[in-house]
């Protein structure tokens, strides 16, 4: 039983990171229609930046600055690459974001080298553990789950109750009407990139003590995050949380049957299954998709 619980917590932990990546995907997708392949790189950048900063700054400050820096990077990315290129076809936008993810990743390699780094555990160290129902859980897990929960809740409130959040939602459902209503849609797009980058960076910091940070961790995260986003239904930010946790849990439990070397492949297989069987996600609707397609 305690073994199962280990798997559950392990799955929830990684799953919550996938959820954050998925939320980032959804945010950007719904405001700009772009699938940002570089989403995973934001997570990587957050962790790596915080690690470097933590060498001469207290941990909480390092994290805050790292999040801010990466958020700004996200916004800058949108301004430089996507503002003037909106008229390009889907194929082109995909290729550009892929190119960006490679460039970011290689830049990270040159800035930081290929060594694995990690932030120190926020409380305790790698040996400390909390006993919960017979399983030994690292305190960092609670930090991760807690932080993600706070992020999700905060984002939900932001989108629902603040003016800017509502403006973002308006942009995603009807950009033209939003613009007519006086909303600066360009800035909203930039904001969506910045917010996605920021929450990704925060997740990267949280997970760093457990999973380590490495210059090439971004690609896998992006795919798994995308799998999570698809499971929940693209464009539905909150369903992405469910998708992320589901992918994380499936991956954690996969080691029961499959050799550990194939663990990563589990998430990719889930992605393919989701795409082939139900691309609109468990919460999406086919009719909406069809109507949209025919109208085009």
């Amino acid at each position: 039983m305690s073994q199962i619980l280990q798997y559950v917590f392990s799955g929830l932990t990684t799953g919550s990171i996938y959820a954050v990546v998925a939320i980032g995907f959804n945010l950007i997708y719904s405001t700009t229609g772009i699938i940002n392949f570089a989403q995973g790189e934001f997570v990587m950048l957050g962790g790596m930046t915080a690690v470097s900063l933590s060498l001469f700054m207290p941990l909480p400050i390092s994290i805050m600055i790292a999040v801010l820096v990466v958020a700004v990077c996200g916004g800058v990315l949108e301004i430089v690459f996507f503002r003037r290129l909106r008229s390009h076809s889907v194929l082109h936008m995909i290729i550009i974001t892929i190119g960006l993810s490679i460039v970011i990743r290689e830049a990270a390699l040159h800035i930081w080298d290929e060594k694995v780094r990690s932030l120190p555990y926020f409380t305790g160290n790698e040996c400390s553990s909390v006993k919960l129902l017979g399983a030994a859980i690292s305190p960092q897990v609670f930090w991760v789950l807690g932080a993600v929960a706070v992020v999700v809740a905060a984002l939900h409130c932001f989108l629902r109750y603040t003016l800017w959040g509502k403006a973002m939602r308006a942009c995603s459902s009807n950009p033209i009407a939003a613009a007519l209503a006086g909303i600066n849609t360009s800035n909203m797009r930039t904001l969506s990139f910045a917010v996605s980058a920021g929450i990704g960076a925060l997740a990267g910091c949280m997970i760093s003590p457990i999973s380590m940070s490495r210059y090439d961790m971004g690609t896998g995260l992006a795919i798994k995050g995308f799998a999570a986003a698809i499971l929940g239904g693209l464009g539905n930010p909150m369903a992405a949380v469910f998708g992320g946790l589901a992918v994380g849990l499936a991956e954690a439990f996969s080691v029961i049957r499959l050799p550990a070397a194939y663990k990563d492949a589990t998430a990719f297989a889930i992605l393919l299954l989701a795409l082939f069987v139900r691309p609109h996600g468990l919460f999406g609707s086919r009719a909406a998709d069809e109507a949209r397609e025919i109208a085009e």
Partner: protein, 362 residues
């Protein structure tokens, strides 16, 4: 074969011969190795060009097919089959050329699948996988298809990386040379370099001709119509799902074939050949070559791969292709060679993109 396609191909053949003579005369035979590798990669890229440029379907997992071809060839020709040592049936298969006995490093006898048989099996496997993946995947559009093919590629990568039988992180080495016949041996040995150069580039020219013919035919138009408007193509009687799949499977077979040959030439293969970075590189090359432009893709692919193999980009090798992708697509979506193509076709009337009209002389 059309007169129009043959002349440029003949010119290219002459240029290639000239390059070889010049390089050998200058004593830089090692350039030939990089050119040979570039040739095989060019075959992959031309196949991908058919799928991406003409049919308009993005595939971010094509390196996986190269790897399927290469790894199958490598594994089958290096893994001993103990059961086949004394069995009667193996004698039959050996004389049929399907199995192959030879002494290994320690003087023991090694019975493996022969390179030709391994080649056929590799292609068959690639075709099968392409069918299995392509059938559901090609129903997807845009980013779903991109992610799906990327996911597929990563699964193959994880499999070759994590499987002991396939050499795990070290890949497979000690792949034997392949005697194709007529004195052609696929092997990296210096003595065979020139022969391999002509063989590889001969293959490239053959594939180029076949694809050019395909593109300027009813099939090519069907593919382009899928890219130009899938719904309308369907309404005009084009079986879009069928054609997408055929193009995909053909390109997978080409990639796998290239994988087999290059694996025998390099005497081995490693997991990086299946990685996402390789797949993205192929996509970058198709984009840089102008998407629906076989000549452009061949030229750019050869140039950039050669430079990359020579170490021109140093540690920024991967970054270079990423930057190329971004720059090409944002600045010149039609490919940087588009103005050149238009200049070459001046006086024949305005053409969309870089596709030529059919040859009326037939």
């Amino acid at each position: 074969m059309t007169r129009r396609a043959l002349i440029p191909v003949a010119v290219l053949a002459a240029i290639l011969a000239g390059i070889q003579l010049a390089v050998s005369a200058a004593g830089r035979d090692y350039y030939l190795t990089q050119l040979i590798m570039s040739a095989y990669y060019a075959i992959v890229v031309m196949g991908l060009c058919l799928v991406m440029g003409y049919a308009g379907q993005i595939s971010l997992g094509h390196a996986a097919f190269f790897a399927i071809g290469g790894y199958t060839s490598a594994a089958l020709t290096t893994r001993n089959i103990p059961a086949a040592h004394d069995a009667a049936w193996s004698g039959v298969l050996r004389s049929a050329g399907l199995l192959w006995a030879r002494p290994d490093l320690y003087g023991e006898t090694l019975v493996t699948v022969s390179p030709w048989a391994a080649f056929v099996l590799a292609i068959a496997l690639a075709v099968l996988v392409a069918l299995l993946i392509g059938w559901p995947a090609l129903r997807l559009k845009g980013h779903y298809l991109a992610m799906g093919t990327l996911g597929f590629g990563l699964i193959v990568y994880r499999i070759v990386l994590g499987t002991e039988f396939l050499g795990a992180a070290d890949g497979i080495t000690g792949v034997p040379p392949w005697e194709i016949g007529l004195g052609i041996v696929i092997s990296e040995r210096k003595a065979f370099r020139v022969v391999n150069y002509y063989f590889a580039w001969g293959l490239v020219l053959l594939v180029l001709l076949l694809l050019l013919n395909l593109v300027h035919s009813r099939v090519g138009r069907a593919l382009r119509s899928i890219h130009g408007g899938e719904q309308a193509a369907n309404a005009m009687g084009v079986n879009t799902a069928g054609y997408k799949l055929k193009a995909f499977v053909l390109s997978a077979a080409l990639a796998a074939a290239a994988g087999c040959f290059l694996t025998h030439y390099n005497r081995g293969i490693g997991p990086s050949e299946a990685g996402a970075l390789k797949s993205v590189r192929y996509v970058a090359l198709v984009a840089a070559g102008g998407m629906a432009n076989l000549w452009g893709v061949l030229f750019i692919s050869t140039l950039l791969n050669f430079l990359s193999l020579r170490g021109f980009f140093g540690t920024f090798d991967h970054a270079a292709f990423g930057i190329i992708l971004i720059a090409i697509i944002s600045l010149t979506p039609e490919g940087p060679l588009a103005p050149v193509g238009r200049w070459l076709r001046r006086g024949r009337g305005p053409q969309p993109g870089t596709v030529r009209d059919d040859d009326t002389q037939g």
